[in-house]
Symmetry: C2
Subunit: 205 residues, 2 copies
DNA sequence: CGTTTGAGTGTACGTTCGTACACTGAAAAC
DNA sequence: GTTTTCAGTGTACGAACGTACACTCAAACG
């Protein structure tokens, strides 16, 4: 049992982050108290300050952490890169899988994006915008289209991200696996509709 | 100064609803205390119970109220019903106008849908589903399409609603009018892309 | 006109909150 | 081996919380 000082601190820090993520699962960061977190971790309230200045600061950390998950997902999507016409199915499959595996993180992002402390909301929306931009470049790489204006690509990317965030939200609020399957199937169709629209689109240049 | 007993009660009730809507504008229902509301109204805390059993019950009332606004918007959209090809522009224009006029209501719905008390979240999502169904019947009336399966219509409707909710969210978080104009323009393009996709869609029957 | 009703008051309670302050004790630094 | 550092402790505080209970007093009622 040799544990360095830094290791022990890191362990407590992790415990605080995990406890916070768990505790705000059925409310929100703005309704989460420092004392609840401390009690859940099994530590005295004032010890919280050794790790974070405030609940909001803790929230920003959770945002970063959550988007590391998301970035891992995007890597999975890019890595798959299979035949052209079932890229929709595989991408949605990967998203669904990640939502289940990182359920707490996704729920956190979706909830705090709308209801969190100002800084947290801003951080989340900035990250999502970044996502949209990355997807836009992926789209041009994927389709090699030259008839699309950069603006339209960005707009299409936004539409897709919105639909996928909507899918994640729907999954998170649907406990029944059967109903979830229907929702996922619907999202697949939605994406195909969007793709049909995109294929028949001509940007005004 | 003749004010019946019921009128006075209704006035206080309204004051409570308005105060709650105002107070949770930068947090959430789950972080709103009965005492804050009472203080804002200028009434003693226990008086709250004369009107609502709990903050959650008050929230359900606010949901109903907000969706009355939304329904009025849908009526506006249906009433316009102009030439076929700028129905997108007019609908989005109406949405944008309503978001500004009923800013607090829209903000409330968007926030509490993700972060409110369970019952409130359920009420909001049920209402939005209802919305999707109504839009689906409007779509069939509008296009007279017979080559679409009911499921695909519902799915398309869901996509449009998701995009419009996304637009409302984006407007609500964008203070700068110039940036807002760009966002609205993007939403118009998104909707047109979706329509292009829909026009080229054939349901599998 | 006397009685009832009920919106709003006022006090009082136990709990939880954030945070200030002085502390301990083992790992880290010297 | 002595000193320093610092994650975590323990106590203590004023403020805010939900809610119980007894109340007032004007409108509504019979």
């Amino acid at each position: 049992m040799t544990e360095t000082r830094g290791e022990r601190k890191e362990r407590t820090r992790r415990a605080i982050l995990d406890a916070a993520l768990r505790l705000c699962e059925d409310s929100s960061l703005v309704a989460l108290s420092l004392r609840q977190v401390a009690k859940e971790v099994g530590v005295v309230p004032t010890a919280f300050y050794r790790h974070f200045d405030s609940i909001e600061a803790l929230g920003l950390e959770l945002v970063d952490e959550s988007f590391v998950s998301l970035r891992a997902m995007l890597l999975d999507v890019r890595r798959s890169d299979p035949a052209f016409d079932d890229i929709i199915d595989s991408s949605i499959g990967i998203l669904v899988e990640h939502v289940h595996q990182q359920r707490a993180h996704f729920q956190f992002i979706v909830r705090e994006r709308a209801a969190g402390p100002l800084r947290v909301r801003e951080a989340i929306n900035t990250a999502i915008e970044q996502f949209e931009k990355e997807l836009a470049t992926d789209l041009v790489r994927l389709t090699g289209t030259t008839t699309w204006s950069p603006q339209d690509l960005q707009i299409l990317s936004g539409l897709i991200v919105t639909a996928m965030v909507g899918l994640a939200e729907a999954i998170l609020r649907t406990p029944d696996p059967g109903a979830e399957r229907a929702i996922v199937e619907g999202a697949r169709v939605q994406l195909r509709m969007v793709v049909v629209g995109a294929l028949n689109w001509r940007s005004k240049l």
